[in-house]
C-alpha cells in the first residue's frame, strides 16, 4: 500500500466541512508558514521537495515560483488552474469535490509565498456545482480567520475568488486562461512575455494546477526534504491518477510513483484488471494528448525493463517507444476496441477545441478529423494514412500554443504503433464496419487475470 498525502482523509465522514477538516489536522500548514516562515522560505521548501507541476507539463514548481517578477507597487497574482478538460482527466474534480479545504489551505500558503492578495480559481464551466462547494469552504476559512484581513494576526491579507469558465478546453492553457479571466475569448498569447512577468491584467502571475497547489500542504507540514524522499529520482511525492476506459475499477487513485504499470492496471488496489477477462490492447497513460502505447511497450520499456508509473519511466524510449505522465489521465483499451475510432474521437475533440488563431492547428485538426472519419467509415484510401502522417507533422511545432502538438501526437502515435489496423480498415471497408481488428501482434500474450 503506497503512501497517501492528499487523499488519505478523503473518506473521513464530514471532511468537506471545516470542523472535521480542522480536527483532522487541517490548516496546520497555514499556521506554520505564516507564523514561522518567510515567503521565500516557503518557496525554498517547495524547491527542495522537487514537486513538479501536476497540470501536464511537469515543470518544477519551486523554480516557477522563483521566476515571479516582484516590481515595487505592482500587485502579483496566483491563479489556480481548475480547467481540467483533457480527456481522461478527472482528478482535480475529485479533489475539489471531496477535499475542498485541502485546496483552499494550499492556496493560502502558496499565496503567502508569492505575495498574492487576490487569488483566483479558474474552474471549467461544466463543473457547475463545484463553485458552491469551494465558496462554502472559502467562507468557512474566512470565518476562522484563515482568509480575509490580517490572517491569524500575521498582517497577511488574502482573498480567494472562484471564476467559472464557460466551455473551452483551450482555457486550460495558461495564457488562454489569463485572457479568459480578463473576460475575453480564450486565445493563447505569444510568449514571451511570460505570465511570471506579464500575466493577468499585465501583472506578474503564477498559474498552477489544483493538485500542485494541494501538494504544497504536505510539503510544508512534513518539510520539502522529507517530501522529496517519497517516490523515485525526479518523480517525487505522490501523484493522482484518474483511471478510465476498460477497467474494473475506474476512479481516482493516489500513487507514490514506485509501482509498475502492470500493478496499477491489474492489482485490486487500483484498476482491478480488465472486465470480462479480456486482454489489454493499448493504453494512453497521461491524458489524450500523450502517445498511445500498445500493451507490449506499455508494460515493458523498449529495453525490456519493467515500465513504472513515474515521469521518467513512462517517458523512457522517447516518443517512438514511450509516452508521458502528462495529466495523469489513464485510459485503458481492451482487445475489442478500435484504435481508428478512438483516434477519430480525439481528433474531433482537438478540432472542436482549437481556438483558430494559427492556420496549421485550425485547418490541420479539421483535416485530420475528416480523413480519420473516412477511414473509420470505410471510405479511406491507402494514401490517406501517409497524408494523415504528413498533416500531423506540419502542425507540430508550428503553432502559438501546445494545443497543436497535443492534437498531432495522438494521431502520430496511433499510426506509428497501429499502422496495420489503419491499413486493414482501408483494405476491408465493408468488414471494418461490423468487426474490429482485434489484438493482432501488438500485445505480447498476457496472463489473463480473472475479473
Amino acid at each position: 500500500m503506497g503512501r497517501k498525502l492528499l487523499l488519505e482523509k478523503a473518506h473521513v465522514e464530514g471532511i468537506r466541512g471545516y470542523d472535521v477538516y480542522r480536527r483532522e489536522g487541517g490548516y496546520r500548514s497555514v499556521e506554520k508558514a505564516l507564523k514561522t516562515m518567510t515567503p521565500d522560505q516557503v518557496t525554498e521548501e517547495v524547491k527542495k521537495s522537487g514537486l513538479r507541476g501536476r497540470g501536464g507539463a511537469g515543470f518544477p514548481t519551486g523554480m516557477k515560483w522563483s521566476f515571479l517578477a516582484k516590481p515595487e507597487g505592482v500587485p502579483r497574482y496566483l491563479v489556480c488552474n481548475a480547467d481540467e478538460s483533457e480527456p481522461g482527466t478527472f482528478k482535480d474534480r475529485y479533489l475539489m469535490e471531496f477535499l475542498p479545504h485541502l485546496l483552499i489551505e494550499g492556496l493560502i500558503v502558496s499565496s503567502y509565498a508569492l505575495g498574492s492578495k487576490s487569488t483566483y480559481i479558474y474552474i471549467r464551466g461544466e463543473y457547475a456545482w463545484i463553485p458552491d462547494i469551494l465558496e462554502q469552504a472559502i467562507e468557512e476559512a474566512r470565518a476562522n480567520n484563515f482568509l480575509g484581513k490580517n490572517i491569524l494576526g500575521t498582517g497577511f491579507d488574502c482573498e480567494i475568488y472562484v471564476h467559472r469558465g464557460a466551455g473551452a478546453y483551450i482555457c486550460g492553457e495558461e495564457t488562454a486562461l489569463i485572457e479568459s479571466l480578463e473576460g475575453k475569448r480564450g486565445n493563447p498569447r505569444i510568449k514571451p512575455p511570460f505570465p511570471a512577468v506579464k500575466g493577468v491584467w499585465d501583472c506578474p502571475t503564477v498559474v498552477n494546477n489544483v493538485e500542485t497547489l494541494a501538494a504544497v500542504v504536505p510539503i510544508i507540514n512534513e518539510g520539502g526534504e522529507a517530501y522529496s524522499k517519497i517516490g523515485v529520482g525526479k518523480s517525487t511525492g505522490t501523484k493522482l491518477l484518474s483511471a478510465c476506459g476498460n477497467i474494473n475499477k475506474p476512479g481516482v487513485y493516489e500513487i507514490d510513483m514506485t509501482i509498475s504499470v502492470e500493478e496499477f492496471i491489474f492489482s485490486d488496489e487500483y484498476c482491478g484488471g480488465i472486465p470480462n477477462g479480456k486482454r489489454l490492447k493499448a493504453c494512453i497513460p497521461g491524458g489524450s494528448s500523450v502517445p498511445i502505447l500498445p500493451a507490449n511497450l506499455l508494460l515493458k520499456t523498449a529495453k525490456g525493463e519493467t515500465r513504472m508509473m513515474n515521469y521518467e519511466s513512462l517517458a523512457d524510449g522517447g516518443f517512438p517507444k514511450g509516452s508521458m505522465m502528462g495529466s495523469g489521465g489513464f485510459i485503458v483499451l481492451d482487445e475489442d476496441q478500435c484504435v481508428v475510432r478512438n483516434t477519430l474521437t480525439l481528433a474531433r475533440f482537438y478540432r472542436h477545441e482549437s481556438c483558430g488563431q494559427c492556420s496549421p492547428c485550425r485547418e490541420g485538426t479539421g483535416w485530420m478529423e475528416k480523413i480519420l472519419k473516412n477511414i473509420e467509415y470505410g471510405k479511406g484510401k491507402s494514401s490517406d494514412i501517409d497524408l494523415l502522417w504528413d498533416i500531423q507533422r506540419k502542425i507540430e511545432g508550428n503553432t502559438i500554443c501546445p494545443l497543436g502538438d497535443a492534437a498531432a501526437w495522438p494521431v502520430a502515435a496511433a499510426i506509428r504503433h497501429f499502422r496495420d489496423e489503419f491499413e486493414w480498415h482501408v483494405k476491408n471497408p465493408v468488414e471494418s464496419q461490423h468487426r474490429n481488428f482485434g489484438l493482432a501482434h501488438y500485445a505480447d500474450p498476457l496472463e489473463v487475470v480473472p475479473a
Binding site: 500587485p75 481540467e84 478538460s85 483533457e86 480527456p87 481522461g88 482527466t89 478527472f90 482535480d92 474534480r93 487576490s118 483566483y120 471549467r124 464551466g125 461544466e126 463543473y127 457547475a128 456545482w129 475568488y161 471564476h163 467559472r164 469558465g165 464557460a166 466551455g167 473551452a168 478546453y169 479568459s180 479571466l181 480578463e182 473576460g183 475575453k184 475569448r185 480564450g186 491584467w201 484518474s242 483511471a243 478510465c244 476506459g245 476498460n246 475506474p250 476512479g251 481516482v252 494512453i284 489524450s288 489521465g329 485510459i331 483499451l333 476496441q337 475510432r341 478512438n342 474521437t345 480525439l346 474531433r348 475533440f349 472542436h352 477545441e353 481556438c355
Partner: protein
C-alpha cells in the same frame, strides 16, 4: 440601430451611443427626447449579485465579470443569450456589444439559439466512447425521435453531443443542467426522461 457614421467624430458618437444604460435619456435623430428601456432586466437581487461579481476583480477591470454575468443572464433569461440579452449585459458592464458577442460565440456553454427546457449533453469523447456512449446517444435519438442538435416538438428536450466533461471514469455520462448524470444505461435514460416530464408537469 445606430445611424451610419460619416466622420471620425460621428463614428465616436455612434460608438459611445451604441449601448445605453436602462432609463438613460437621449435625443433621437429628430431631436426628440427618448428614454432607453431594455425589455429585459435583472431583478434587484440579481443586480446585487452582479455587483458582487464585479467586486471580485480590481477597479476598472469589470470586463473580467463578463463570463460569470453571461452565465447569470443565460439562467435568468430563458436558457439562451439573445442579442438583446447580450446588449443588456454590455450595458451593465460598460462594454461594447461586440466585446460581449465575441465572447458569447467562443464558449460552448453559451446558447445562441433557444434550447429545450431539458438539455441532454452527452459526452462522446474517447474514454466515454470506450464505455458505450455511442449506443447511449443512439438510444436517446430513438427514444425522443430527434437527431443531435434538435429539440422535441413539445420544446422539452434538446439532445447535444459534447466533448469530455471530466467524468470519464463514470462513463457513459451526460450533463443535465447543473449536474452530471453518470453510468448511463437505457433504463437510466428512461428514468431521467420520466423525471423531467414529471418535473415539467409539476412546474407548469
Amino acid at each position: 440601430m445606430p445611424r451610419t457614421a460619416h466622420s471620425a467624430d460621428d463614428r465616436r458618437d455612434t460608438l459611445e451611443r451604441s449601448v445605453a444604460t436602462d432609463g438613460e435619456e437621449r435625443k433621437n435623430a429628430d431631436n426628440k427626447k427618448i428614454t432607453f428601456r431594455f425589455m429585459i432586466k435583472f431583478s434587484d437581487e440579481k443586480l446585487k449579485k452582479v455587483d458582487e461579481i464585479v467586486a471580485r476583480y480590481p477597479q476598472g477591470k469589470q470586463k473580467s465579470a463578463l463570463l460569470p454575468v453571461l452565465h447569470l443572464a443565460q439562467e435568468e433569461f430563458g436558457g439562451w443569450l439573445s442579442a438583446e440579452t447580450m446588449d443588456y449585459v454590455a450595458s451593465l458592464l460598460k462594454l461594447e456589444p461586440i466585446e460581449v458577442y465575441e465572447v458569447a460565440t467562443f464558449y460552448s456553454m453559451y446558447n445562441l439559439k433557444p434550447v429545450g427546457r431539458y438539455m441532454f449533453e452527452v459526452c462522446q469523447t474517447g474514454p466515454c466512447m470506450l464505455r458505450g456512449s455511442d449506443q447511449i446517444i443512439d438510444y436517446i435519438k430513438q427514444k425522443l425521435n430527434i437527431g443531435v442538435g434538435e429539440t422535441t416538438a413539445d420544446g422539452l428536450f434538446t439532445l447535444k453531443t459534447v466533448e469530455c466533461l471530466g467524468a470519464c471514469g463514470y462513463a457513459p455520462m451526460m450533463q443535465l443542467g447543473k449536474h452530471f448524470r453518470e453510468h448511463l444505461t437505457p433504463e437510466k435514460v428512461d428514468a431521467i426522461i420520466d423525471e423531467c416530464r414529471k418535473n415539467a408537469a409539476a412546474n407548469n
